[in-house]
């Protein structure tokens, strides 16, 4: 019996997910304790229950059904993203929500899953090859359509997740180094130009050296290189045309310490919360940072501070090891499955979860810019938790059917 179970179900993933959910719910309970927002804790429990059922449903779904559903689901989610731009509800300056009887639905979260599935479906079609220009264009189109719609909301954080995940998926699917460099270089140049001329020159020089090393088609290299320079220059130009408060928002994004009472305040408080936790923490419901609400709404983006403060290094480490374990398990699944579709889905899930984790925990620790993205399985939020549970379900499904072609 036990061997049948472990043959069909990736028990490690199930245990990790349950562990993360438990940590998340405990943290939300603590963060909302005595604030009048206890209802969030009960809601998160409900979302976790719904998510668990969805995870199991996806696990037991007949093989290939998912693959056949990939494009239709993608189409539906794109329509929802378009509708939200027309009829969405504005929360915290972004139009990302559908309000359904008191509960909000955030389609950009669910679209992460459908975009991964659509990319996987396309990249696993016979004859599709990322060395062909046409196939590259289609791949980009599939991933960047939701990005464009999400930037329209505007939700910078979620858009970044898509772009970063696309990079990893393309790498897995066999994109050449040249293509990947073409993908990164203009963006890197644009960001570097905002940090100053020196940073910009370094990026340009590195790009140049890489192109020489890759010895690719000279013409293509020259075009990409020009694009990189152009991206950097035009960014500076556009920046100078922005209104002062818009400029300030971008600069704070790049350097939170420049605004000690705004975004910098959050990072400073977050570092105090983590640092003051020490080895064993201050005890459940005893964290002064958490209980005195120094961080606004820390049950969302700054959730990692709560266990780090109240359970110390033990708590922080436990979450880190669980997330790392889940990601490595996902990579393992991606490389053991027989079908390419299954592999790309698994690697897509790993990519999305990894980018979330890197940005979120990095931000809480003060080593990444403040970008509002949730921590998988821990942050409060129904749409995000449910999409995470669906992604866990996908990993389980691919593992269970790993011998199928």
């Amino acid at each position: 019996m036990k061997s049948w179970l472990s043959e069909h179900i990736d028990l490690l993933v199930v245990f990790i997910v349950l562990g993360l959910l438990t940590m998340g719910i405990i943290s939300i309970y603590s963060a909302t304790y005595d604030t009048g927002s206890q209802v969030l804790f009960q809601r998160q429990l409900t979302y976790a229950g719904i998510g668990f059922l969805l995870m199991v449903a996806i696990l037991v779904m007949p093989y290939r059904t998912l693959q056949l559903m990939s494009y239709p689901l993608y189409a539906v989610s794109m329509i929802m993203l378009i509708l939200i731009l027309i009829a969405g509800k504005v929360v915290a300056g972004s139009k990302s929500w559908f309000g359904i009887g008191g509960f909000g639905l955030q389609p950009s979260e669910l679209a992460k899953v459908t975009t991964i599935m659509a990319l996987a479906a396309y990249l696993s079609q016979r004859g599709v090859n990322l060395h062909h220009a046409k196939d590259v264009v289609v791949t980009f189109a599939i991933a960047l359509l939701p990005v464009a719609l999400i930037l329209g909301q505007p939700d910078m954080g979620t858009a970044i997740i898509y772009v970063a995940a696309l990079f990893f998926i393309m790498y897995w699917a066999g994109a050449s180094n040249f293509l990947l460099l073409t993908f990164i270089a203009p963006g890197a140049a644009a960001i570097a130009s905002l940090f100053g001329t020196t940073a910009f020159v370094i990026v340009i020089a590195l790009t140049f050296v890489f192109f020489i090393m890759l010895r690719k088609n000279r013409l293509m290299g020259a075009i990409t290189f020009s694009l990189t320079v152009l991206a950097g220059v035009s960014t500076t130009f556009i920046f100078s045309k922005l209104l002062p408060h818009q400029q300030k928002r971008i600069l704070t994004f790049l350097n939170p310490d420049g605004d000690p009472l705004g975004a910098g305040y959050n990072v400073a408080q977050s570092k105090i919360a983590i640092g003051s936790g020490g080895l064993f923490g201050k005890g459940f419901l005893q964290g002064t940072q958490t209980q005195l609400n120094f961080l606004p709404a820390q049950w969302t983006d700054f959730i990692y501070c709560v266990p780090s403060e109240e359970f110390g290094f033990i708590g922080a480490f436990l979450i880190l090891i669980l997330l790392t374990g889940l990601l490595l398990r996902g990579v393992h699944t991606a490389s053991t499955v027989k079908s390419r579709y299954a592999a790309v889905v698994a690697i897509g899930v790993v990519s999305v979860l990894a980018v979330h984790t890197i940005i979120n925990i990095g931000m809480a620790m003060g080593i990444m810019p403040v970008i509002g993205v949730p921590l998988p399985f821990l942050s409060y939020g129904g749409s995000n938790l449910i999409s995470n549970m669906i992604m866990a379900g996908l990993l389980l499904h691919m593992y269970a059917n790993r011998k199928e072609y």
């Binding site: 305040y265 105090i272 922080a316 480490f317 579709y341 690697i347």
Partner: protein, 603 residues
Amino acid sequence: MMENAEPASRRGFFVFVIGLMFTVFIVRLLQLQFLYQDVYGKKSEENSIRPIARDPIRGYMLDRHGVLIVDNRPSYTVTLTPSEFRAANTHYLAALMHLDTTFIMERIAKGKLYNRFSAIKLKRDISFQEVSAIEENRLKLPGVDYQIESKRFYPTNAKAAHLFGYVKEVSDQLVAEKPEEYRPGDVTGATGLEAKFESDLRGKKGYEFITVNARGEMLGSYNDGKSDIPPKEGNDLYLALDGGLQACAESLMANKRGAVVAIDPDDGGVLALVSKPDYDLTQFGSVTPVDVWNALNTDEAKPLFNRATLTRYPPGSTFKMVLAAAALQEGVIKSSWAINCTGVFHFGNRGFKDHIVHGSTNIIQSIQRSCNVYYYQLMLKTGLETWSRYSELFGFGSPTRIDIAEENPGLVPSEEYYNRVYGKGRWTQGYLVSLGIGQGELGVSPLQMACYAATLGNKGEYHTPHVVMKIRDKSSGQLVDVPVETRHIALSSQVWSLIREGMRRAVNVAEGTALTARVPGIEVAGKTGTAQNPHGKDHAWFIGFAPFDHPRIAICVLVENAGFGGVAAAPIASMCIEKYLYGKISRPTLSLPVATKDEQLAD
């Protein structure tokens, strides 16, 4: 379908990235939680910066002569910090502050939801005895304190309750909508100018940053106060209002029901706006005592109702100039057209009465003596469509868009209106007859009537009425003009001179109905009106302007249930005009300038 055949190097890259992430995070965790634990532990102990909101001073209001008419004065507010307060003290505090125990408990519960470390406001404008009681019980009542806030104060006799309006505590909904601007316990404009110009008057909150320890106790100011953001004072409103005239009109209307609106015909600036009965603004300001509120709401005289802008009464004979203008301008009649008034007009099987037998009457006399028969006939000649169009041209039937709260657009009946109400073909020309003398379904507000008087005074320049002329931007110090919209009512100069001459004679020439509007030494022009009131005594109207040649004031007076306009309304207008143009009233009492019979004043 394709097979999964990726080289191991691809897998290795992912393992490398994940491993790198793990390593970096672990190193950072060790750095924060072991290496610097002392530093951060101490910081969390002393933590941290807490912003304390500082309320800005609400903008002032000045009248047209620069006299401060809406001021602020300091008042004391009891505050309570939920985290420091002991629940056992609730009864004691309630007794000291003359508050209800449940009220205090509700406030604390609400404050806790927001932030239990920030003080909530319990009661505004407490007495000196209550301040002393807090001082004496400082040790017994931890968490209870008081702070100085500003409260509205009206230094002159111009009380203008409906015009200035009052402020009240923000609703939970507004706090949720604009968390940057409002916090629970703040005040916001509720009516009148206070509401309409809330965003100017409010100013911007400032913040003092203080450091507190982990138990929320204050340690001192953060960064020596260098990071504090001082509050930005609210902008001042420079009003067109004449404080002296406003106060005078208010006293003239004392113990009456009705409204006075005076307008500067040159620019539409509101010189005075009175609605009576009114209420005492000083009873408002944050939380109005329930008994005061109930008394105001249940008073059958409706003191909260702004009669100047919300009333919808028929204007009576004051409306005759609209029909005269329409008929003359459209060529329905020539200026020489005259009738013989026999004191009654028969139409269908009904007789429409006049006050007296006017005999032979031309257009000027018809206004001077307010002949009804003339207008019964003229209405039938002119027709509903033309009449409606000219009524709308003079601004009736739609809001004036004055810059104080709500107003009633009134009603100008049209064919479409009658078809809707009575059904097509189910109403007759007979319905029109009473419209000709400003009765029937026609409904207007005193404000609309004052604007109408102003356009008669300045021959067709319709300025949108406005109370605020300029706004002083406190951050730049600049005085910014509030733009005024103007439209021109194009009537020929002959039409203007005929109807204005009728109005001049009504006040100044024997047999006029408005002789009581005379002001010594000034040529006033005007028109009386009496609105039929099915529920009681008729409402008295007067509209007018002065001086005749270059009017500086246009006025409308409405006195409810007071009878004839010439008796009840015109004398009040006369006093107001004298007050405004001379700066004082020399007449000891209202005296009728010529011996008049009541029938003559009837119209």
